[in-house]
């Protein structure tokens, strides 16, 4: 079936997002790793790039980007326009220099016409970034059972377990100290204890900031749609939400002698099994209804 021609920057960005034309060997698109049915995340610890090459970090969800102030696990990009071009050039992701991508789009009749129609100019680095970022910026979700409960006062929208879990999230479990705001994250980078310099060696933010105090720190991830974006953490080391909650309950039991772990995570939370199940219920309630069908 003939696809309609994109009429806006956003529509063009959507088309480009799912088109492998932006990878070196034309086999990988942004959508290969940011899968729409998984809230634009992936189901494996590390997504394969061109020729099956593997990086070291888990694919984060590309949804709910509008209020973010930094991008990638280490915050190497400060705007969405910067962010969208980096995976295209990364040798273990799409492996195509942006200049080559632009040249390729300029020789493609469909894209050449589309860019001219929408931007009144030929494909360039800036309008490619605008199209892709406009599409990503449109991927907001605000229709979860949790939102229905809080926004519409619909007490039936979430279970009693989820309500107890939200209370624990705000109090005993201390999750709220990092995961707050419309997307349940904030602009900070934190070391949650996944760096020990031996088995776990990704230094995270410090490789970008060159500050020793940032050793092992990573961007705090959004919790919206978290139930469908397993596996978890920057390296995808936890397969389930239960494993994540167990980790936060007692980080030392999972990674002893981690370096520079945040003081919020000193000691154990001493959550009961029932409390852990309630927190998981709350996290599941953050899943947008489009994914619950």
């Amino acid at each position: 079936m003939h696809e309609p021609e994109p009429a806006t920057s956003l529509e063009l960005g959507k088309r480009l997002f799912f088109d492998p034309i932006l990878s070196g060997n034309r086999t990988i698109s942004c959508g290969s790793c940011h899968k729409e049915n998984l809230a634009f995340a992936d189901s494996v610890a590390v997504s394969p790039g061109v020729n099956g090459r593997l990086g070291t970090r888990n694919t984060p969800s590309a949804m709910n980007m509008r209020f973010q102030e930094s991008f990638f696990w280490d915050g190497r990009a400060t705007t969405l326009e910067q962010q969208v071009l980096i995976p295209i050039e990364n040798p273990v992701e799409m492996d195509l220099p942006v200049d080559s991508a632009i040249a390729r789009l300029n020789t493609d009749a469909f894209y050449r016409q589309s860019f001219l129609r929408i931007f009144k100019e030929l494909p360039s680095k800036s309008n490619l970034a605008k199209a892709l970022s406009d599409f990503e910026r449109s991927l907001e979700t605000s229709d979860s059972p949790f939102d229905d409960w809080r926004v519409n006062d619909n007490e039936e929208a979430v279970s009693a377990s989820a309500k107890r879990g939200f209370k624990l999230f705000n109090t005993k479990a201390k999750c709220i100290q990092c995961h707050f705001g419309p997307d349940f994250n904030n602009v900070e980078f934190r070391n949650i204890g996944l760096f020990d310099g031996k088995m776990h060696v990704d230094s995270g933010r410090s490789a970008i900031s060159h500050r020793a105090s940032d050793l092992g720190k990573f961007k705090i991830g959004s919790l919206r749609n978290i139930a469908i974006t397993a596996p978890y953490m920057h390296n995808g080391m936890f397969k389930t939400l239960k494993e994540v909650i167990d980790y936060y309950d007692n980080p030392e039991a999972v990674i002893p002698n981690s370096m520079n772990r945040d003081t919020i995570l000193t000691g154990t939370l001493q959550l009961t099994d029932a409390e852990k199940a309630d927190i998981e219920s709350f996290l599941i309630s953050l899943t947008d209804r489009r994914f619950l069908k």
């Binding site: 939102d147 926004v151 006062d153 707050f180 419309p182």
Partner: protein, 127 residues
């Protein structure tokens, strides 16, 4: 006689409801602020409930929840993002029944202070 008692009973219930409604603070309800941004409008809504709880919503996303108390024209607020046990205080000024301005008196929670000090909202009609 029995009918008269029934009517009196109904009247008592009605008066109780009316007195509750009339005693309700004018802040109870939904308040909106639309802010312009380069990426489009940001639609902020605050829901103040009669049970002293409130929620903040941005572009349809619930982003904060907490408690509030009002004495005269001063509101004390706590929320989960700052600390549920700590209350910041703000002066309320109603320009009209549907127009409200928050001005900080004392609040050490930087994020809330930045968001709430000088915040002007318009009351939304009841659903």
């Amino acid at each position: 006689m029995k009918n008269a008692f029934t009517w009196l009973g109904c009247l008592a219930v009605l008066l109780t409801i009316v007195s509750f409604i009339s005693a309700q603070d004018p802040i109870v309800g939904r308040w909106q602020r639309i802010q312009k941004s380069p990426d489009g409008d940001i639609n902020l809504i605050f829901v103040f409930r009669a049970d002293s709880t409130y929620d903040g919503i941005v572009n349809g996303k619930a982003f904060t929840t907490g408690r509030y108390f009002i004495k005269n024209d001063i509101i004390s607020v706590s929320d989960n993002g700052c600390n549920l046990a700590y209350y910041g205080t703000y002066k309320l000024k109603y320009y009209a029944q549907d127009s409200l301005l928050f001005t900080a008196i004392s609040d050490t929670c930087k994020e809330r202070y930045q968001g709430a000090n000088g915040l002007a909202c318009k009351k939304l009609p009841k659903k």
